[in-house]
């Protein structure tokens, strides 16, 4: 769908503001995301490099003496709006920016597994299915019926819980509307401190517009992420600018 196509409703630009001062790093969003999107429990061989995690929480350490020592950084697909790196490099058109929702959509049926998008993503927010997803016997009964498990050999990522968006669209259609409104992704629902606010950047009266001063991680890249952060701690702003967002790195020595 081209960006100039006329639609019968006002396009939305769904996005998030994550308050890093509220995040306690509990990981509720991580598990809620995995359960909602039918991500299989990690097999014994899986680690932080080869597992499927659509949302990760990184631990950040304050390099300066001032302020809090640690902060936690939830990071998922940032839904970049400008020259979206993964869309640009995909040879299969398996990644698209939906103009009606502003969500960067991944279509596993088109994906050939080249992983160019993983290389291009500045946030490392994409995962590759190295094997077929599998659950212990009987546990398939706990799969979310609205989400198809992805097959081996394809890339996947956060899509702001498309299944919930579709459910909202269905509910709106029943009421004669085409506008799904503001729905609630699983991570937003699970966050015990309400650190994640979900809304529409196009809505001047919406929750995102009222979020106050926000910043993007790696803003300098100019990809205009729709997931933004807020914090009163200067060291986090500085870290976001210079891209020091990596998780606490394992230091090799010897």
């Amino acid at each position: 769908m081209s960006a100039t196509q006329k639609t019968s409703r006002t396009p939305r630009r769904y996005g998030m503001v994550i308050d890093l001062d509220r995040c306690t790093g509990c990981g509720a969003c991580v598990i809620a995301c995995a359960a909602e999107n039918n991500v299989a429990p990690g097999a014994a061989r899986e680690n932080d490099r080869n597992s499927i995690s659509l949302l990760r929480v990184f631990t950040l350490n304050n390099p300066t003496a001032a302020g809090r020592r640690t902060a936690f950084l939830p990071m998922m697909c940032m839904q970049c709006e400008h020259e979206t790196p993964c869309v640009t490099v995909c040879p299969q058109q398996a990644v698209e920016l939906d103009v009606l929702s502003g969500i960067v959509e991944q279509m596993p049926q088109r994906c050939l597994g080249c992983r160019y998008c993983m290389t291009a993503c500045p946030y490392h927010a994409r995962s590759f299915n190295w094997g077929d997803p599998s659950w212990p016997a009987g546990m398939e009964a706990t799969l979310n019926p609205a989400v198809a498990p992805r097959m081996r050999g394809v890339v996947e990522k956060c899509d702001f819980c498309q299944s919930r968006l579709h459910a909202a669209q269905d509910a709106a259609a029943v009421n004669g509307s085409l506008d799904p409104g503001i729905y609630t992704p699983a991570c937003v629902e699970a966050c015990p401190t309400q650190a994640i606010t979900f809304g529409d950047w196009n809505d001047p009266e919406g929750a995102l517009a009222k979020s106050g001063e926000t910043f993007a991680w790696l803003e300098g890249l100019g990809t205009q992420p729709k997931v933004r952060y807020r914090s009163g701690q200067n060291w986090l702003h500085e870290m976001a600018e210079r891209g020091g967002a990596a998780p606490a790195k394992e230091e090799r020595h010897g």
């Binding site: 990981g27 509720a28 899986e46 809090r68 212990p136 706990t142 198809a148």
Partner: protein
């Protein structure tokens, strides 16, 4: 031209090399890989109508409200019940994957007696026989006291001369000492955090799934918005709470008593600073704040995956609370009414004399409660029997043990009394949202069958539930919160009360008007020893709610191994500097030993780890050895242990 063997071999070799260099085999490989992508081994979810039902989380005693999303095949998702009085719209992280627990590979599907699979009825008859024989030397371990089934356990134990005991959870440890000093019964005090201006945690993991997640999360959110309450954490290691607190004071291990004595004015600042390793200025400042930033309160207890502080230190904390006026004051430690219709609270297992029991019936139907195996075993006599009602196979079991399969998360009827730390009692119940497997017994059914085998006459679960509902309504106190729309109604009409509760509502008692309470603190011993300073300490790390004798929620792997948010089970996390000093390299197999035990693991270096601190992942399989090494079965062993490490 003659074609010989040499030519044939040359042709075959050339064809093989040429074929391999052509695109054909690779295209075939690629096509077959793509073709098999959609074979039936990728599961297809069962489609069908989706409904939402309210239930209770039974992973701990708090009983937070959950909203379960149910499809044709059963529960496929869990969300917090926004208006629940205990959960308050928040749940522990592992609860979001707890609906997968019924299908855990370690699910117990048959009763086991002395290592042999038997019919459940036979196992219960055997338990009855041994319980009868043990008489007064029998105890029932009720991990979540105050439930309806607790009344059944109480009747059974009384009828046969035994006792009911419970575990002192991390939230209990400070409150029970204060209750002892105030001469009040178990469960009669709670924390009024909501009105506190300053909360000092002495080793308590207040911001790491302590108490009910919803309550602490609400407090944390309020602190971000208003700056109150101020969280100050004093502990011997950099825990998650220390990382998040407004102010963290890292003490020398074992010097908590000196800190508390100095804050109470019973020890001069200078020597206390020397013992604790803190600066005199920070100690004086904290002592001043505790008095001026009223209402303030102090919480002890230690970490969930280790033992609490020594009883003497807990008594000092209780006396400090009295000294700063926190006892009986709004924003402090307040009195709460006992739950209407509930039996007398049981005594704590750690206070039962060692090797004094011939039989211990452990109701382990909750998957998230920390029950150190070593503590259970130590209370049993040499040939004592441990009976476990559990949904999962434990890591290990003894030759005399009896295992009976139970229900787990969202299976079968359950009720919950509410969080131990809450300022008021709550009560809610659920009939279960998933079907009960044929082999599994809900706790109430287990108690009823055991009573029948023992020929003890007890009311049915339903009768007891109705009786408690009637008692609550007759008391004319408190309110009922309904999930739908968050309606609040008076608990005055039994029919309406039962109808609301059946839909998953929660009854909340009225708070007791804060008033002065007395506690005998004259006898508190304020002497603070000078602990030895180990060069290396061990700490246990775990997302609460998945730490127990039972296996972890499958998706908990996302929190440790797959995202490194918590220490990985079987790994020893340390700072690279510490590893260099110990001449260890990442991946080395090591043996960590403490005064209480040993555990093995592999070295993982992480710049975020604190130098001189070994972080042991205590979640899922192998966690019992970590608990043992951390002295979790030794009351008062403290949250950190001096450690030694060597290659294994």
């Amino acid at each position: 031209m003659a074609i010989g063997r040499r030519e044939l071999l040359g042709l075959a070799g050339g064809a093989a090399v040429g074929g391999a260099l052509s695109p054909v085999p690779w295209k075939l490989l690629d096509d077959s890989a793509i073709w098999t992508q959609n074979w039936s081994w990728t599961p297809t979810p069962v489609r069908g109508p989706v409904t939402e039902k309210f239930g209770l989380c039974t992973l701990c005693a708090a009983g937070c409200g959950v909203k379960a999303r149910c499809g044709s095949a059963g529960v496929f998702g869990v969300a917090p019940a926004a208006e629940h009085a205990t959960g308050g719209g928040a749940l522990c992280p592992v609860v979001y994957g707890a609906h997968q627990l019924p299908y855990h590979p370690r699910r117990l599907r048959t009763a086991i007696v002395n290592g042999h699979a038997v019919e459940t009825k036979e196992a219960i008859a055997e338990v009855a026989r041994r319980l009868e024989a043990a008489g007064a030397k029998a105890a029932i371990l009720d991990e979540r006291p105050g439930r309806i089934v607790s009344a059944l356990y109480d009747r059974i134990a009384r009828a046969k001369g035994g006792t009911v005991v419970t575990l002192a959870q991390v939230e209990d440890r400070s409150l029970r000492t204060m209750e002892d000093l105030a001469g009040m019964g178990p469960g009669t005090l709670g924390y009024d955090f909501e009105h506190a201006a300053l909360i000092l945690s002495v080793g308590a993991p207040l911001l790491d799934s302590w108490g009910s997640t919803g309550r602490m999360s609400r407090l944390w959110s309020r602190r971000v918005e208003t700056g109150k309450p101020v969280f100050v954490h004093a502990g011997s290691h950099w825990s998650r709470t220390a990382q998040l607190a407004d102010r963290a004071l890292i003490l020398r291990p074992g010097s908590e008593a000196a800190l508390v004595a100095a804050l109470a004015g019973k020890l001069a600042i200078e020597p206390a600073a020397e013992i604790t390793g803190l600066s005199p200025a920070s100690l004086s400042d904290l002592a001043l704040r505790l008095r001026e930033q009223a209402p303030a309160l102090v919480v002890g207890g230690g970490e969930a995956a280790s033992s609490g502080l020594p009883e003497a230190t807990e008594r000092m904390i209780a006396a400090l609370n009295v000294a700063i006026g926190a006892l009986g004051r709004a924003g402090g430690i307040v009195m709460r009414r006992p739950l209407t219709g509930a039996p007398q609270p049981p005594q704590y297992l750690d206070r039962v004399p060692d090797h004094s029991l011939d039989l211990l019936v452990h109701e382990a139907s909750s998957a998230g409660i920390v029950a150190p195996e070593a503590l259970l075993r130590r209370k049993l006599a040499a040939k004592g029997t441990l009976v476990r009602l559990s949904a999962f196979l434990p890591e290990a079991f003894g030759p005399n043990d009896v295992l009976i399969p139970s229900t787990t998360f969202l299976e079968g009827a359950e009720d919950a009394r509410g969080a131990r730390d809450a300022a008021v009692e709550t009560w809610s119940y659920s009939d279960g949202l998933s079907s009960v497997p044929a082999s599994a017994l809900p706790p109430a059914e287990f108690a009823a069958q055991l009573a029948e085998a023992l020929q003890v006459k007890v009311e049915s679960y339903e009768e007891l539930r109705k009786a408690r509902a009637a008692a609550i309504v007759a008391a004319k106190r408190g309110h009922v919160y309904r999930h739908a729309g968050g309606e609040r109604a008076e608990a005055t009409d039994l029919e309406k009360f039962e109808a609301a509760m059946a839909e998953g509502a929660v009854w909340v008692d009225e708070p007791v008007e804060p008033g002065p309470l007395r506690a005998k603190i004259d006898a508190v011993d304020w002497s603070a020893g000078r602990p030895e300073q180990p060069s290396l300490i061990a700490v246990a790390s775990s997302p609460r709610g998945s730490l127990s004798v039972l296996p972890a929620v499958p998706l908990a792997s996302k929190l440790d191994r797959e995202t490194r948010l918590y220490a990985v089970p079987g790994e020893v996390r340390m700072n690279p500097r510490t590893a260099r000093e110990l001449n260890l390299r990442p991946g080395d197999s090591v043996l960590v030993s403490t005064p209480f035990g040993e555990t093995r693991g592999r070295v993982r270096c992480d710049a975020a780890a604190i130098p001189g601190q070994l972080e042991l992942g205590a979640c899922g399989d192998g966690s019992q050895l970590v608990l043992e090494a951390m002295g979790a079965a030794e009351p008062g062993a403290g949250p950190t242990q001096a450690a030694q490490i060597r290659r294994s």
